[in-house]
Each structure stands twice: as C-alpha cells, then as structure tokens.
Symmetry: none
Subunit: 249 residues, 2 copies
C-alpha cells in the first residue's frame, strides 16, 4: 500500500470513528506499527488529526460545533498565558478597553487587584468584571448574537465618550502586508475606533491567527503591539514592524 493511500485509509477510519487505536490502524493499513507511527506524525504535522497516546483522534474543531463554553477552552493555556502578560501591562489607575473575546476574558482575574476602569463591548465579560468588583462601563449598540459583542454605528458613537490608556483587542488575522483583519466589518470598525481612542493598543493573537487574512481591516501592523504564544519561526517579520511579546504557556 502506497503512502498516500495509507494516509487516506487512516483519515477515513478516523472520520468514521472519531478516535482510533494503533492496532486498528496497523490492521486496516496492513503496515507495521513503526510505519503507522510515522504516518501519524506526518498527518499531525499537516494538522489533519491529533495524535493521542495509543492512537489518534480527529481535531476537536471538526468533531463538533463548538459551544461558547467550549470555544473558551480551546487553547486555554495559551490564552491564559497571553492574558496574564497583557494584564501585567495595566497600571494602577489606568482606563482600559477590553474587546469582546475569550482571551480578553481571561485577563479579568489578573486585573482584579488593580484599581482600573474597564470599558468593554463584550457582554460575556460583564458578569465576571462586576463580579470582581471592577468599575465597568459597557458600550451601547446592537448586540451580535453569535459573539455576544456590541457592534455597529451606535457602538462607535458610544465608544467616543471615552479615552483609554490602553486597549486590548482580539483579532482573526495578522498579516505583514494586510495588517490586522476580522471577518465582520461592524466589529472591525469598533476595534478600529477603540484603537484610535487609546494611548497604546495591544493585539492578543494566538499562533493560529498569523499570516491569515479575513475580510475587514482593523489596522496596519505598525499601529498596535502584539502579544502572542506563536513560535519563533513565524514572528521575525512582524518584529520588524511592531513591538511583539512572546509568551509561553
């Protein structure tokens, strides 16, 4: 059996069963354990599957539609590392903007000891912010159900009531030429406005966001700092353009 055929066999079996044991693969592909191991390593490298002790499992993103709760736990350790560093930049007395998103959400516990004023467009953050007794302002405007973010023209107007020492934004795409991008233009304009109202802006981006381009542009790379867990090989080009802080989970 040729290598590509073996790979197909493995992926097909995984598709059906969600998780599959080494032994099953050895039989299905009629190859040795060593060979299957090599295949699994390769396919994991290609992001086609996830290796686990004893076999392999499909990537969880493909396995099921993620609930909001689950989305929060994808790359949780990375997000927490990013969030922790981001929060460490906040000084006592700062006014900051926290974008809607799961990484900014993780910043909240680290802010609780500081005397900060937080403005946010993320409804999911409100409960936790007020729970930690942080002085909280919410941006007004239309609610986007899927992301539980406040967006649109009213949100932009509402934001202009404030000025920020620092703002912390989530993002979908980070690209050297196309800058920071996000799929929804109405979200993009909110992020852009927050950036313009801030002394400094930091983009919180896990490694999956780099060299991606999505529909709506928020800003050029030069306009904001980047905090990320991305490995060294993809970062040098960005380091030439702006401040980049790398954190490790």
């Amino acid at each position: 059996m040729l290598t590509p055929e073996r790979h197909q066999t493995i992926l097909k079996l995984l598709q059906d069963k969600k998780t599959v044991k080494m032994k099953e693969l050895v039989e299905a592909a009629n190859a040795s354990e060593s060979t299957i191991r090599r295949d699994l390593s390769y396919l994991e490298e290609q992001r086609k599957l996830r290796r686990v002790h004893g076999g392999a499992s499909i990537k969880s993103a493909a396995s099921e539609e993620l609930s909001l709760q689950e989305k929060k736990t994808v790359h949780l350790a990375e997000k927490q590392a990013i969030a922790k560093y981001a929060a460490s930049l906040v000084r006592d007395g700062d006014s900051i903007f926290l974008d809607a998103g799961s990484t900014t959400y993780e910043m909240i516990p680290y802010l609780s000891q500081k005397n900060v004023l937080v403005v946010t467009n993320g409804l999911s953050l409100l409960e936790t912010l007020t729970g930690y007794d942080i002085e909280t302002y919410v941006v007004g405007g239309r609610i986007k159900r899927k992301t539980r973010a406040v967006i649109g023209a009213h949100a932009v107007e509402s934001l202009k009531h404030y000025r920020f020492d620092k703002s912390f934004l989530g993002i979908n795409g980070v690209h050297p030429k196309e800058g920071f991008t996000t799929p929804d233009p109405e979200e993009a304009v909110v992020k852009k406005t927050a950036l313009q109202l801030s002394g400094e802006t930091f983009i919180l981006a896990d490694s999956s966001k780099f060299n991606e381009i999505t529909f709506a542009k928020v800003a050029d790379i030069r306009e904001a700092g980047i905090i990320s867990d991305a490995p060294d090989d993809i970062l040098p080009i960005f380091k030439e353009l702006t401040e980049v802080k790398v954190v490790t989970p």
Copy 2:
C-alpha cells in the same frame, strides 16, 4: 478506550444526566477509578465540568440562572400578570424600551412572537432577549452592580440615539403629588430620558409601590400610564390623573 473517547463519554453522560457518580463513570468508560479521577481533574481544568464530591456535575450556568430565578419569584404571579398585559400593548414593528428590572424581564417571552426591536439598560435581560432571537440594543454606560443596570450620563447620551414607540419602566414609588420616584438619581435620569424619547410610557408597579416616595423623581403621574395588580381601594386617585390598567394574577 483512548483518552479523548473517554472524555467524550464522560461529557456525553454528563450532558444527559446533569450530575453523575464516580461509579457510573467507571462502568461507562470501563476504566479504573484512578483514571476517571484523572480525567475529571483534567476536564475541570479545561472548564468542561465541575467536580463534586462523589462525581461531577455540569458547569452551573444553570445554577447561576437559578439564584437569579429565585430572586425573580418574589411576587412572580403578579409580575407575570403585569408583564403579560404590558406585552400585549406592543404592536408588530414597534421599537420599545425595556427598563432594567424583574417585571420587564417577564415581558420577554410574550414578545418573542412579535417583530419588535428592543432597547434596554438591563443587563439581566440581554441573555434572554437574544435567546428569543429578538433584535436587541444595549444602552452604553456605567454598570451599577447591584441592579445590573446601565446608568449615568453616558447612558442618557447613549439612549438619545433612539426613539421609542413605547417604553416600559419599573419604579419604586408612585405618589399622587410626588409622581414616580426611585432611590438612585442616576437611574432616575435614565428612566426620565427614556420617557421623553417615547410616544407612550407605561409604569409597571405592583401594589407595594403605591403611595411610596423615594429620593429621585422620574416624572409626574400624568406623564405615564400605570399597569398594576393593586386593589381597587388605592387606585381611584391615580385613575383621575392617568390611564391605569388593573390586572389580576
């Protein structure tokens, strides 16, 4: 059984049963207690579940809801009767303002069949409004922790982006001479602004609110209709001043 499969089994079982005992998990996953314990620790770390003595339970978005729910059950029948009638006043295509509060909250289910646009300063209402797929706008501004309402000067500014066919306000005091009053001036000014931006305004007031006076004035009695479950003996004087609808639970 591979680790991810075991995790899925555990989560699935939990999804169905809400809480699950150690023994059940051991049997369902066909693994030792130690292994299940390790799985539970991991899944709790991942925030997929909550460990409890003797097993595990689903993350309590449900239990938080409950405590809120409990608060709402004081005079629930009365509130629901008031809310149901209030909602019946809303016409297809209306833009309405819903004040923060438990009675306005009860209006939401009755609004779900109509094509309405809702603006609110009540954070507690947002989840349910968007859950019913109602087009929702949130007022921007400072969050008052105790009542989970958006208040203050920014809220007033933010409100002025909108015009309402009808608005529905909660209140603390209803008095023939002193009008509608509420303890917090910053809440009062938000209610007052909503009233001024509305074609019609309805005050939702259970019987305990009548002939009470609190600190900050919202409006004169003449400026809004009243919907209440109050008994006949205290209402005549108000009926001379404005439209009063009496509902019975």
